[in-house]
Each structure stands twice: as structure tokens, then as C-alpha cells.
């Protein structure tokens, strides 16, 4: 990506225009996509587009279909169930503590996303607005931590929570989010830098405190970037498998999150482990864990696309 931190058009546009649009300003007219002219080319293009769409969607269709099949037919690969078995959806709640798992997952995801949104934006405002010795060095350090492989801090982090007696609780799954997270700090800072500084000067003249400038001016103007951070972290937390595996796996099954629970059910139902191959319930659970993410995407698509495109803009 040619735009970098230093150019003004690298900031996240508050109006969240379509991908790439805000980068277009300045040097050259952006291509609106090169249209294919010949008829044969058009046909080939659409065939490919639709073919890939089907390939990407097939596992979803397969999942939906399998969730409506009785035990013996999950593998039969017909997208329309031979025996329609909607009772899977009624039975699964008895077979697996799904309601508990969903409650845990929602609680953790809301705490993780809410806390990281708040803490990252506070820190980001510190980096964006104030001048203090060592600021650029510290911000470089923020960026550098994004590169650190998670494995290096995995074990000591576990031991820290162990010493605090938090293993088996949900705290390790959101606690560190109190301290901000590098990518979100970067993203929020970009957003704050895009706000006109005169707004803050004016508030200063009117006697606003520093915290007031953040809370009454920066925050209300930055709702879109708050949404980006919140939904990104919500998704990351909701989908997370490794952390629950480390911190919750040895506790009661009811305390699992949905991903950990499904992983557990896949094993528990497998014939090799004394199960009877009741994968239809796993399919229902897999569909139930996926649906909130698809709905979240449907509702906040532009924020996701914007957030992803921002990642590319850093390079």
C-alpha cells in the first residue's frame, strides 16, 4: 500500500466511505474497476464469480442441511434431507448445555469488546492529542508489540493468572483488555488524528478539562471507529478457541464457551470415545455459534470492510 501513516488520507474517514475511496484523493484518479467489454469475457467472469460463490457457500448449505438430518443421514451429502428432523433443534438443549455456553460466550465477548474499546480509545487519545517526551518512541513500541508471536507470552500469562487464582474463571479471557490492544490503539489514533484540532482548542478555551475533551468531544465524534473496534473484538472473542481451551477446559462443562463446548462435543459424540456419532447435534450447535457472526456481519458489514482495509493500509 502506498499511503502510509504520514499522509493525511491514511486516516480512517469518519464517514466510512466505500473501500479504497478515501485513498483515492490526491495523486491519481482511482479506477472504478475495469469493466469487461466482450460478451464471452462477461460470461466467463460471471461463471467464475457464481462458481466461487457456490464453493464458499457450500459448507454453509451443507451445515444447515445436516442440522436437519437424523443421526444416520448426516453424512449422506444430499443438500435436501431425506428424513426431515427438526427435532434436533429441540433435543440439542438437553444433550448439550448450549444455553450456558452461549451465556458465557456472550458475557465474555461483551466484556472483552467493551473494555478494549474503552481502554484502547483512552490510550489512543493520549497518543493522538498530547505532546510529551518519548511519545513517538512509545507509539513505535505499541506497533512493535503487534508483531510479537502470541506463543512467547502464552505461558507467563497463564502463570500470572494462575498466581492470581483466576484459572477456571472467565477473567483471563477479558482481563488483559483493560489495558488496550495495539491494533485498536493504532486504529483509534488514526481516527482521532482525523478530527479537526480546532475543536479541541475551542473546548480548551471554554474551560474543558483534558478528560472532558476526550469524553465530550472525541468520543461522540468517533462512534464509527468505536463500532469497528467493538465488533472486531467481539468476533475475535466469540470465535476464540485457544484461550478457553487453556483457561476453562479443566473446569465444569457448563462453564465452557460455545467454541470450546463444540470442540468437546465433537469428541464426546465420536464413536471412538463411547459416543454414538450424534453429529446432528454438533451441526445444530455449529450453526448456532455461526449465526450471530453472520448477523453481526450483515448489520455491520461496512465497518468490517473498513477495518480490514485499514490493516492493509499500515504496510
Amino acid at each position: 500500500m502506498t499511503t502510509t501513516l504520514g499522509t493525511s488520507n491514511a486516516t480512517v474517514d469518519p464517514r466510512l466511505q466505500a473501500v479504497g475511496m478515501q485513498q483515492a484523493g490526491g495523486k491519481s484518479p482511482a479506477s472504478p474497476g475495469r469493466a469487461v467489454r466482450s460478451v464471452a469475457g462477461r460470461v466467463a467472469l460471471w461463471a467464475l464469480l457464481i462458481g466461487f460463490a457456490l464453493a464458499f457457500l457450500y459448507p454453509f448449505l451443507w451445515l444447515i442441511s445436516a442440522s436437519f438430518k437424523p443421526r444416520g443421514e448426516v453424512f449422506d451429502n444430499s443438500l435436501i434431507p431425506k428424513t426431515f428432523s427438526p427435532q434436533n433443534y429441540a433435543e440439542v438443549w438437553d444433550k448439550l448445555p448450549l444455553l450456558n455456553w452461549m451465556g458465557n460466550s456472550i458475557l465474555i465477548a461483551v466484556l472483552a469488546a467493551g473494555l478494549v474499546t474503552l481502554s484502547s480509545s483512552v490510550v489512543a487519545f493520549g497518543f493522538a492529542y498530547f505532546k510529551f517526551p518519548g511519545r513517538d518512541l512509545l507509539f513505535g513500541l505499541v506497533l512493535a508489540t503487534m508483531m510479537l508471536p502470541g506463543a512467547v507470552t502464552l505461558i507467563p500469562t497463564y502463570l500470572i493468572w494462575n498466581n492470581l487464582g483466576m484459572i477456571g474463571t472467565t477473567v483471563p479471557l477479558w482481563g488483559a483488555n483493560l489495558f488496550g490492544s495495539a491494533f485498536y490503539i493504532f486504529l483509534q489514533r488514526q481516527f482521532f488524528l482525523g478530527l479537526p484540532r480546532e475543536l479541541f482548542e475551542a473546548a480548551r478555551v471554554d474551560g474543558a478539562s483534558y478528560w472532558g475533551m476526550f469524553w465530550r468531544i472525541a468520543v461522540p465524534l468517533s462512534v464509527p471507529s468505536f463500532i469497528i473496534v467493538f465488533i472486531f473484538e467481539f468476533q475475535a472473542s466469540w470465535n476464540n478457541l485457544q484461550a478457553p481451551l487453556i483457561y476453562l477446559n479443566f473446569g465444569a462443562v457448563e462453564n465452557f464457551t460455545v467454541p470450546l463446548g463444540i470442540s468437546y462435543a465433537m469428541t464426546a459424540f465420536s464413536p471412538g470415545n463411547g459416543g454414538q456419532g450424534d453429529y446432528q447435534w454438533v451441526m445444530v450447535a455449529a450453526l448456532i455459534v455461526t449465526m450471530p457472526m453472520l448477523i453481526l456481519f450483515a448489520a455491520g458489514q461496512r465497518y468490517f470492510i473498513e477495518g480490514i482495509a485499514t490493516q492493509g493500509r499500515k504496510g
Binding site: 500500500m1 502506498t2 502510509t4 499522509t7 479504497g20 479506477s31 475495469r34 469493466a35 469487461v36 467472469l45 460471471w46 464469480l49 466461487f52 460463490a53 464458499f56 459448507p59 451445515l63 445436516a66 453424512f75 451429502n77 487519545f125 493520549g126 497518543f127 493522538a128 498530547f130 505532546k131 510529551f132 513517538d136 507509539f139 513505535g140 512493535a144 508489540t145 503487534m146 508483531m147 510479537l148 502470541g150 506463543a151 512467547v152 502464552l154 505461558i155 502463570l159 494462575n162 488483559a176 488496550g180 488524528l193 484540532r197 483534558y210 472486531f232 468476533q235 475475535a236 476464540n240 478457541l241 485457544q242 460455545v258 463444540i262 465433537m266 471412538g272 453472520l294 470492510i305 492493509g312
Partner: protein, 335 residues
């Protein structure tokens, strides 16, 4: 922090962005410190207070954790008594002598070499398709992005059944066109391709980044090239690739780092069930590290493993950055 795993990791400063930022300055933002700046003391104090949460988190969960991790890697750590007995280099010598570490490392590197180029090529191909479609692109972009939203555990539960060698849908489909499909999940030669397949299914994050870059390539470049008689292939290599080289480079870096740490898919498909033996070629580094740390509670050994992969990732990244800087074309050559 740990919750960032799902997102691509960003290279610290591969192209000297921070340097550039300083030189360019910024219209509204604070000016770069050319000479000694006089700081407003109240403002500086407020700034430190605002970034305090990150500083604390950094000291405990990054810097502190790294030092702690280093100490543990040179110790025999006993979880029951919470004591770390120094044992010198023993963990590291054990590491080198453990054939499973080398096996897992080999598997992981092999996977990365296979997955990253395919991901780049596939994501770029999809982005170019979407870039050409004009109206309707939004719908397809949405459809292509759905796999990225799917929790890895749901994806794995479906792929576990789709990839089943005997009655999975993928092999049934191959059989329908006369191809005998492989035993994706049990044949040692096919377990890594099956994980690559799952990875390619959710490649759309990379695709979106490419799409944003393609939208930035000035359309008149292609028009001029057309007039000069350059064909589509020539245009791709002479215009598209150089114009988005920075993005390709960024994606290669990020995907390589992610590939070297792949855990979820390998764990879910092959190592979730401890009683089931899986082919050794599916033992990935992150999975073996996890087993050593949280199944066997060999924290010292696992910490040493973590430092080894950290070192390897650093070396690979540095090589890529050195190599990449020669190929990346920066518009206006602001470097």
C-alpha cells in the same frame, strides 16, 4: 495482546513508516521534534495518564511476560509449588534432541511454504474478479467474506465431515467426475493440503486488502498500455503487480507469520481427541507447544519452544523485509 490472534499481525515498521511520518509531519497534528521542543508540563502529564493503561499492560503482559518467559525457559518449572529451578540450557538441548520438535517445525514450515503463495494467488485472483464486475460486486464480496466470519470450530466441524475420505462430500464430488479422492484426514501426505483447503476457504480478509489496493491503481495506466499493444498478461505483470507490490508484500509478511502459528485448524481436525492417533505429519508447532505446556505442564520446555519459534519468525521476517524492499515500488518513491 492475545485477543489479536484472529487479526493479521502487523510488521513493526517494515518500510520505515514511522521515519517517514516524522519527516512528512502532519498538517494538524503535533510537529516533529526537530530541535528541542518545550513541552507543556500539564499537557505532558495528562498524556502520560491517558496512555497509562497501555503502559501498565505492556509492563505486565508484554515486557514482564517476556522476561518471565525467558527465565522459565532456563528453568524447570513446577506448577504445584510455583517454583522455577534454574537448569541452565537443559530445556534448549532437550528441544534440539526432541525429534517431535523438529518434526513439528518441519511440518509448520512446509505448510507455510505451501499455504502462503496459494493464499496470495487465490486472494488476488478473487480480488481481481471482484474489481472487474462493477455492479453486483458488493453482493459477491459479502458472500465471499462469510467464511471469514465463521468460528473456526464450526468450520472444522463441517470440514471434518466434508473431508472424510470414504463418504465426505469432497471425495464424492471428485468421484462423480472420475477422480479417486485421497484420504484427506488420515493419509500423511494429504493432511496438510486439507488444512490449506480450509485456510483458502476463509481467505477473504486478504482479498479485501487486495481489493482496496486494486481500486487505487490508476485506470489510465491500463489504457496507455493497451494502446501500446500490451496484452492482459503483460498488463498484469507490468502494471498491476508493481502498483500493488506494497500490498502483496504486506500480505506475504502477515500470512507467513500467521501460518507459522497456525493452531485452531490443526488442533480441531487432528489433535482435539487425545485418544485418537493422528498422522504425525499433522503435528504443527503451535499444537505441540500447547500439548507440552497445557497437557504435560512442561512449562520450561514449552517456553523454550516459544522462544525458538519467535527467533525463527524474526529471522524469516527480516529476510522477507530485506528481500521485499528490493521489489516493492513506492509511489513517488517517498522512501
Amino acid at each position: 495482546m492475545s485477543n489479536l490472534k484472529a487479526l493479521p499481525i502487523v510488521p513493526a515498521d517494515p518500510a520505515g513508516t514511522v521515519q517517514r511520518e516524522k519527516r512528512n509531519g502532519r498538517g494538524k497534528g503535533p510537529k516533529p521534534p526537530k530541535v528541542r521542543i518545550k513541552y507543556n508540563r500539564r499537557e505532558a502529564v495528562a498524556g502520560y495518564l491517558f496512555i497509562l493503561p497501555w503502559v501498565l499492560g505492556f509492563l505486565v503482559f508484554t515486557l514482564g511476560a517476556m522476561i518471565y518467559s525467558l527465565v522459565i525457559s532456563f528453568s524447570n518449572y513446577d506448577l504445584a509449588t510455583d517454583t522455577a529451578t534454574p537448569i541452565g540450557l537443559e530445556n534448549y538441548t532437550n528441544l534440539i534432541e526432541d525429534p517431535k520438535v523438529m518434526l513439528a517445525l518441519g511440518n509448520t514450515l512446509f505448510y507455510a511454504v505451501m499455504a502462503v503463495p496459494l493464499e496470495i494467488a487465490f486472494a488476488l485472483f478473487l480480488a481481481m474478479l471482484l474489481n472487474r464486475v462493477g455492479r453486483g460486486a458488493g453482493l459477491f464480496r459479502t458472500l465471499y467474506y462469510l467464511p471469514k466470519m465463521t468460528p473456526s470450530v464450526a468450520a472444522a466441524s463441517v470440514f471434518l465431515l466434508l473431508l472424510n475420505g470414504n463418504y465426505g462430500a469432497i471425495n464424492r464430488g471428485l468421484a462423480a467426475i472420475g477422480i479417486q479422492g485421497p484420504q484427506w484426514l488420515t493419509d500423511p501426505n494429504w493432511v496438510k493440503p486439507s488444512i490449506v483447503l480450509m485456510t483458502l476457504w476463509s481467505v477473504s480478509g486478504t482479498m479485501i486488502i487486495f481489493l482496496a489496493a486494486l481500486k487505487n491503481v490508476p485506470v489510465d495506466l491500463y489504457e496507455v498500455a493497451s494502446l501500446d499493444g500490451a496484452g492482459k498478461v503483460r498488463q498484469f505483470f507490468s502494471i498491476t503487480v508493481p502498483m500493488i507490490s506494497g500490498t502483496i508484500f504486506f500480505n506475504v509478511l502477515v500470512l507467513t507469520i500467521a501460518a507459522l502459528q497456525v493452531f485452531d485448524q490443526a488442533f480441531l481436525l487432528f489433535w482435539r481427541n487425545q485418544t485418537n492417533a493422528s498422522p504425525e505429519s499433522s503435528l504443527f508447532y503451535a499444537v505441540y507447544l500447547f500439548q507440552q505446556a497445557f497437557r504435560n505442564f512442561n512449562f520450561g520446555f514449552a517456553a523454550a519452544m516459544a522462544w525458538l519459534i519467535f527467533l525463527i519468525i524474526m529471522i524469516i521476517t527480516v529476510i522477507q523485509v530485506k528481500f521485499g524492499n528490493r521489489f516493492v515500488y513506492y509511489e513517488g518513491d517517498r522512501r
